[in-house]
Amino acid sequence: MRNALKPIAIVAALVMSHGTAVAQSTADDIAKYREMIADGNPSELFEMEGEELWKTPRGPMKATLEKCDLGMGPGVVKGASARMPRFFKDTGRVQDLESRLLTCMQTLQGIDPKLVIDGKFNSGERKTMAALVAYVVTHSKGDKVRVDMTNPQMKELYALGERAFYYRTGPMDFSCATCHGEDGKRIRLQDLPNLTKHEGAAAGWGSWPAYRVSNSQFWTMQHRLNDCFRQQRTAEPIYASDVTIALSVYMAAKANGGEVMTPGLKR
């Protein structure tokens, strides 16, 4: 009787573990793929395009972005995105990388921010923005996330970002926390970082913007947040609106001290 049961138990154990095993191997395969192309992340093409755009006179004022101040002084790109979002005295606002680039494009080049704000991802000035972002974030790779949480405006935006993170609404009652509030969760086979803790926030915030293998696109943080809200079934967040800056401050603050791995490489 005992002997007869044994094989059944083994088969049952195998079948029970089957789903987990496949899920695990899929995650392993993605990790292997990441390793394989780590030396040649396709986002390099976007970085090169962005560098070119940074140095090319554009817009009504036919100027380059070489005097753009990302917080480290005019033209300094190295380490800049690791310290963003940050408060800028000249605009009197906390800005993320993309809203700051909008300011530079407007003041230096005379390019209307509406072209980006009302544009579409992967086309026109938003495509230009993505390339510029790829260029800038590459120059913080290996740095540590270092956002200044002693600044009072940053503190306020953190508090607003936290409220936005837990804000449940829409036909499916979702908030950011529905998917990103617990450790070790997945949607289908996709691992979800817990953005309420340092480890998860460092993994998430630290690896976006990123190149997405599934659609060969380079996604900025504004693009990433936009698609999160689409899946949450909310209305569409306005590009560079307060909620996007507040959530970025919330994530960056949680990630503070973690490694910047941008541009990341995603499924």
Partner: protein, 205 residues
């Protein structure tokens, strides 16, 4: 000269920027709610009215759940929204149910008005013996009917849970499929069959 130029500029910056004094939690709550209205725009079927919270959504929008009393009150109110099958017919076709469980489509700004929504069940739950691409936000429902049987009590509970999960857990992560009009009554019947039918791959290996 410099002063004259700078003064109005400084004033403009002060008016536009966020006040630097410490803001009370209540003020921040109000500002956050305003931000959730102002930062969004209509896109396709996803309109800005979706940013306005229902009372229970607001009560469940903190890191910690509300008090037990508030939870109970929400659950009692949500229980009233459940529409029980008028003809007493709880089960449809498990094969249709599987399609609904797999589909995660519907209600985003890239979906069309009037298109049939999916249940998105596999985004969060393990269900069948065969589908290995499942999420883990919700509990595993593998062998749901086989393990729980099909007493009136469990059948009724499951219908209610599918229709409005908040009736049983005020701040549940699960959408109110029936109450919020995500799924039709017939679609819920098909999901019931998928969960309970002995021939369904949820129960049969």
């Amino acid at each position: 000269m410099n002063r004259i130029l700078i003064a109005p500029l400084a004033l403009a910056v002060a008016v536009l920027s966020i006040p630097a004094h410490a803001t009370s939690p209540e003020e921040l709550d109000i500002r956050a709610r305003q931000m959730m209205k102002d930062s969004f725009k209509d896109h396709g079927i996803a309109k800005t009215y979706r940013m306005l919270q229902l009372d229970f959504q607001q009560a469940c929008s903190q890191a910690k759940p509300p008090s037990a009393d508030v939870m109970k009150q929400i659950e009692a109110e949500q229980m009233k929204t459940i529409k029980w099958p008028a003809d007493g017919k709880y089960f449809g076709d498990w094969k249709e149910g599987e399609k609904i469980a797999i589909s995660g489509r519907g209600l985003t700004w890239t979906d069309k008005a009037g298109a049939e929504n999916g249940g998105g069940c596999y985004n969060c739950h393990q269900l069948s013996h065969h589908e290995i691409s499942y999420g883990t936000i919700g509990p595993s429902l593998l062998e749901y009917g086989k393990v729980r049987g099909n007493s009136d009590e469990i059948v009724k509970y499951t219908w209610g849970k599918l229709w409005n999960a908040k009736a049983y857990n005020a701040c549940s992560n699960m959408p109110r499929n029936g109450d919020a009009g995500i799924l039709t009554e017939d679609q819920i019947r098909h999901l019931m069959a998928y969960l309970f039918d002995p021939a369904s791959p949820v129960n049969k290996r």
